[in-house]
Amino acid sequence: MPDNPPPPASSRRRFLAAAAGAGTALVAGGARARTTPDPHITEIQDWNRYLGDGVAAHPYGKPSKFERHVIRRDVEWLTASRESSVNFTPIHALDGIITPNGLCFERHHGGAPEIDPSKHRLMINGLVEKPLVFTMEDLKRFPGRMNRVYFLECAANGGMEWRGAQLNGCQFTHGMIHNVLYTGIPLKALLDEAGLRTSARWIMPEGADSSAMTRSIPIEKALKDCMVVWGMNGEALRQEQGYPLRIVVPGWEGNMWVKWLRRIEVGDQPWHHREETSKYTDLLADGRARRFTFIMDAKSVVTSPSPQAPLVARGPNVISGLAWSGRGTITRVDVSLDGGRNWTTARLDGPVLPLSLTRFYLDFDWDGRELLIQSRAMDETGYVQPGKAELRKVRGLNSIYHNNGIQTWLVRPDGETENVEVS
């Protein structure tokens, strides 16, 4: 009886080779007919005979050990230090639209600090009638508490792919993203409490960590839909997601969602700080650079099949993927099996919310031929996710951020799936 979890997804090559060697290569059609009875049915299993864990065994539960390959992973060579680095959500192994808290990718610039919430303060100062200081208790007493599902995508998600196919797996090429239900209050309520002066044009959230992250946000966005939150998916923010407080900037690049939020300054012009000059500006081919590229454009990726989640059988299969747009609601996702020559409109399933991950499916029969799978998202503004070549035509190869080009997976006849680029 196999007591080992499935091999980590990054070992699929070895796994497939071993599977083929054991004579359990790709199966055609539906379930195989058996000639001998299945011992998993005919023999009494341990779990059918002995008692399982008692209710007090796991005061805070974890996933089954058979799911222990579903974890955040990092790519060590990407950055000089683990404390200013990134890891990746295992989107190849998830379904639906909500990212489990323990799997939400992390991006820190000075590590994830451990902050005692009783010592945490939020200050509002600058162009306000009355600069204020709040405790966490104050914030949780505010009227107008709200819950919203939003995606948070790192501006650099897919950034390693600007020059070509580099990393094998949507966890690595598209996994700087998560989507959770946030609980908090509208930022507007806090700004109203302090009283904005008429000259207020920008705000600047600042973090309490050792990178003291700062970004400039236009006041219109701050008043429209930004939130100050302490909850994610029904519980407190995780330490690595800003516990006890972070700002939510729906649809805009993840860098702006300042964690461990301790201060919001109101000003009449942007601050041009490091994270909006040296970083998070987009260098174009002519040597000039776009700044304040806040919005994350419409994007999608097929999460299965993908390099970490190959096809294992011919016949009925489900193409599953995610689509999202920082400009609004996803209205349609098309899927191609032939590298973009022909497209079929996929089925959106589950909640379809603005500025949120949206799940799509395409059921299909695989006859074992080679596939070049792509997905193409459209949002309510009429924006159609472009191909990588179309993006490069406008931006060149050096803009690092905001790569929302169409991803191609090559599915080989043995089911193994690769990250490729097609003409």
């Binding site: 990054s10 509002i124 309520a189 012009q269 000059t277 590229t293 020559r341 090559l410 490729v420």
Partner: protein
């Protein structure tokens, strides 16, 4: 009270809440004291707003830089290993491998002052005095050929210093430059004659495997 009257009252209350009158204060929080604002509000803008009193010379900055910064950023700001380069890279922005340093890329020198003051040295933030931040900033400006070796940077003369790449930044223009991505009806059938594979990630093969965290790229 009749149900009708109740509904009327409820509607009246809702109308009150929705009125555009000044937002009702919750009465939460307390006024921030000047000392508290001074302790946290240390940010600096390109127009010099927020600069503290103080000054520092290139020469003072060199000694401080060698002691506090050079182990990661290199003796000349060239960057050690994977750590960021702070100087050099001039004229590289249109090339194959742009080197984006303070001198070659950053638009404003105040950004360097602000960032060093709030977040550097890495792992020991907020440990430099304002004069020390002025001095290190002066040294980095000198390493980038922006100021002379005898320069003394201060709150008073800061905004006279300009970086060469200031004019190369412009606002997000995607809705004009990428207008063609807003195509209401994308192609669905026979969109191109052929789809040829032009690149494969497994040829590059840098994806982490178990027990092998991937290539170190220096």
């Amino acid at each position: 009270m009749s149900r009708f009257r109740k509904a009327l009252l409820a509607a009246f209350a809702a109308a009150l809440v929705a009125s555009p009158a000044p937002a009702k204060k919750a009465g939460l929080g307390r006024p921030a004291l000047p000392e508290e604002i001074a302790a946290w509000d240390i940010d600096v803008r390109p127009d010099g707003a927020g600069l503290p009193p103080g000054r520092g010379s290139v020469k003072q900055g060199e000694a401080l830089y060698l002691a506090r910064c050079a182990s990661c950023h290199g003796e000349f700001g060239e960057g050690a290993g994977r750590w960021p380069a702070l100087a050099g890279g001039h004229g590289s922005l249109r090339g194959e491998a742009p080197e984006k340093t303070i001198g070659s890329f950053w638009p404003y020198p105040t950004t360097a002052f602000d960032y060093i003051r709030r977040a550097m040295p890495y792992g020991d933030a907020r440990s430099l005095s304002d004069d020390e931040v002025y001095a290190i900033t002066a040294f980095l400006l000198h390493q980038n050929d922006v100021v002379a070796a005898d320069f003394v940077l201060s709150k008073e003369n800061f905004t006279t210093v300009r970086l060469p790449n200031e004019a190369a930044f412009y606002g997000d223009d995607r809705e004009q430059a990428e207008r063609h991505f807003w195509t209401q009806e994308p192609c669905m059938k026979n969109c191109k004659p052929d789809a040829k594979i032009t690149g494969r990630a497994r040829v590059i093969d840098v994806t982490p495997e178990d027990g092998n965290k991937g290539l170190k790229v220096e």
